[in-house]
């Protein structure tokens, strides 16, 4: 069902100059911060708890609860994760380029609630324009009195630094991100501690939150957490920014009320995805980034709901949906995804480093017609090393959950389309047509 839920994080985007301070101020910008500063820190935190705002970075942990875990210490930090690189995810990129002030304002509100006086926004290095826009927004926010000493005349001060990444998917994992921010290689840290809120940046307690999570805060403070929580259903409150790509007529971003909107709405509604490209039909779709197990036509009527998707054996993850029509070669799709994991493994853990390489090679050889029937068991075996038992959520034998995410697409593919794999073996090559270039 398409609902009349307000657009919370994309309200401003119809304006070509949505990134400028002038437009931001003309559309209610920094009013949420002014209101927050008139409240106590605890009251701001209470609103975020009341909103039940789930983190939008992929794990879906409630933001208010994460904030409560921040260990008491003289120095602590807030770090915003804008490293977005989960394949098929492009929502943070949009928010960074088109509404950087909203991220800055949300960050200041969070820092106020947390009592933190130093914050960082880690922006993916490949977003050159995004880095320009964020840096300009920070410069303008200082000039406007929204950053620096005594913000808007209050007793609250905050220094905010925009930090550029340098190209490594793994730096999206929060402990790798902190290593990178410390000027080191992006190696995920060994857990426990499970949360940077205990030991984070420079060994100090640190809250790490996603860019979209921050973007919701000005609205929540202005309108109240309860109003936010009234949108959606169960634990999936508010709206969420979904990124739709693949074989649909209208790929793009769509901000939708959680839970009440379904995958079918997103993919087929004429005002949203508009359906599978002409003359073709749905074969499979990925519901939440390439780390997520796949869904099929029978899942279309499920709501965009974190718990429902989890119960069905996958995840809403980063909110990115990839549509594959009947021309898609499942072996090739699984190969490309495993190629990504192989190229981006940080290399610390053997099952991940070696396993990803083996899986990529075996899938390639099946696609090239050199596969054997036993290869399917070999693949599942390699996957089992990464995620013992192949359950969902996966069991973890590695330092971070990158490794256990590798099996998702391979196991999905083999379970649902075993015959297609075997046909590759029998026919000595790929029985499906090559990918068609989308002309423009």
């Amino acid at each position: 069902m398409l609902t009349d839920a307000p657009r919370i994080v994309t309200a401003r985007l119809e304006h070509a100059d949505s990134h400028s301070l002038e437009r931001y101020l003309a559309t209610g910008g920094y009013e949420g911060l002014r209101k927050a500063l008139s409240m106590t820190r605890e009251a701001v935190h209470d609103e975020v708890n009341a909103a039940s705002l789930l983190g939008r970075g992929g794990a879906g942990f409630p933001a208010g609860r994460k904030w409560s875990m921040l260990r008491k210490a003289p120095t602590s930090y807030l770090v915003i994760n804008g490293d977005e690189s989960e394949p098929a995810t492009f929502k943070d990129h949009l928010l960074i380029e088109r509404d950087p002030h909203q991220i800055v304002e949300g960050t200041i509100i969070a820092a106020y609630a947390l009592g933190v006086d130093k914050a960082f926004i880690f922006c993916r290095g490949e977003f050159a324009l995004g880095l320009e826009r964020l840096t300009q927004a920070v410069n303008d926010a200082y000039a406007h009195g929204a950053l620096g000493a005594s913000i808007f005349g209050s007793e609250f001060s905050l220094d905010l630094v925009v930090h550029p990444g340098a190209g490594a998917y793994i730096c999206g994992e929060e402990t790798a991100l902190l290593e990178s921010l410390e000027g080191k290689r992006g190696f995920p840290r060994i857990k426990p501690p499970y949360f940077p809120a205990v030991i984070g940046l420079y060994g100090e307690p640190t809250v790490v939150n996603n860019v979209e999570t921050m973007s919701n805060l000005p609205w929540i403070v202005l309108n109240g957490g309860a109003v936010f929580a009234a949108l959606g259903q169960g634990s999936s409150t508010g709206t969420r920014l979904f990124a739709l790509s693949g074989h649909v007529k209208r790929p793009g971003w769509y901000e939708l009320e959680m839970s009440k909107t379904t995958f079918r709405d997103l993919i087929y509604d004429p005002s949203l995805g508009g359906g599978v490209r002409s003359g073709h039909e749905l074969k499979a779709f990925i519901p939440g980034g390439v780390s997520a197990p796949w869904f099929y036509p029978e899942h279309l009527d499920m709501g965009l709901d974190q718990d429902a998707v989890g119960k069905a054996g996958s995840m809403l993850g980063s909110g990115s949906i990839v549509v594959m029509d009947e021309t898609t070669c499942i072996v090739r799709a699984a190969w490309r995804i495993s190629r990504f994991f192989h190229r981006e493994s940080c290399g610390q853990c053997t099952p991940c480093r070696e396993g990803s390489g083996w899986i990529e090679k075996i899938l390639r050889r099946i696609e090239d017609g050199l596969g054997r029937e036993e290869d399917l068991e070999l693949l599942l075996d390699a996957c089992d090393n990464l995620a013992p038992g192949l359950t969902w959520p996966p069991k973890q034998t590695t330092i971070c959950v990158f490794g256990p995410s590798i099996p998702s697409s391979i196991v999905s593919g083999i379970h649902q389309f075993r015959d297609e794999f075997l046909l590759h073996v029998k026919e000595g090559g790929c029985p499906l047509p090559p990918d068609e270039v989308r002309h423009v």
Partner: protein, 193 residues
């Protein structure tokens, strides 16, 4: 070969001043060095080591982890053709194949005249505009074979000089506030979004 210029040394000091620990400046200053020279020269890495309080080997070792940091020269324009899932479904490998023929190089190589480097990229977060291509981290897409040819022609003729600065330049806006002794900064030119 190139050490960091006096202006960039000054800028680098201002960058480390933003962080509680000097080493955090390492990656931003690597970007600064690449903006100066297009890649990380030996001499620049020595300068960065001194500024960040680490050894030159640590700078090299850290830089080698990151795809955007180059310790060997690259072309004036670096093409990144995304072939990840959404772009692959839109024919990215056909476009990459075409790019190889057009430029006469394979991914990872640079043309003999030093103009172009070609890379096969992972998802660039431009999947709604598949096939997504970046030139020096500026977005172009959707790109098909003809679009790629036009891009090469435009870059060669200098028609995109305003939107695509030479490789290494990321943000053309610099942080102004809280940086000791640094006043001038260019504002972002026209939006390319």
């Amino acid at each position: 070969m190139a050490r960091l210029s006096p202006e960039n040394l000054h800028r680098a000091e201002a960058i480390v001043a933003l962080y509680p620990e000097r080493r955090s400046g390492l990656i931003p200053i690597c970007h600064l060095a690449q903006a100066q020279d297009g890649y990380l020269t030996e001499e620049a890495m020595e300068d960065i080591a001194k500024i960040c309080g680490v050894s030159p080997a640590e700078v090299r070792g850290t830089a080698s982890f990151y795809d955007m940091l180059h310790t060997e020269p690259v072309g004036k324009y670096v093409f990144a053709v995304c072939t990840n899932i959404a772009c692959m479904l839109a024919g990215a490998y056909e476009v990459l194949d075409h790019a190889e023929h057009r430029l006469g190089i394979h991914p990872g190589q640079t043309t003999a005249d030093g103009m172009f480097t070609l890379e096969e990229a992972e998802c660039l977060a431009g999947c709604d505009k598949a096939v997504c291509v970046q030139v020096n981290h500026r977005f172009f897409g959707p790109i098909d074979q003809d679009g790629f040819d036009r891009l090469v022609d435009d870059l060669t003729a200098g028609r995109l000089d305003d939107t695509v600065p030479p490789h290494g330049v990321l943000s053309r806006v610099q942080r102004q506030v809280g940086l000791p002794g640094h006043q001038s900064s260019e504002r972002a030119e026209g939006a390319t979004a």
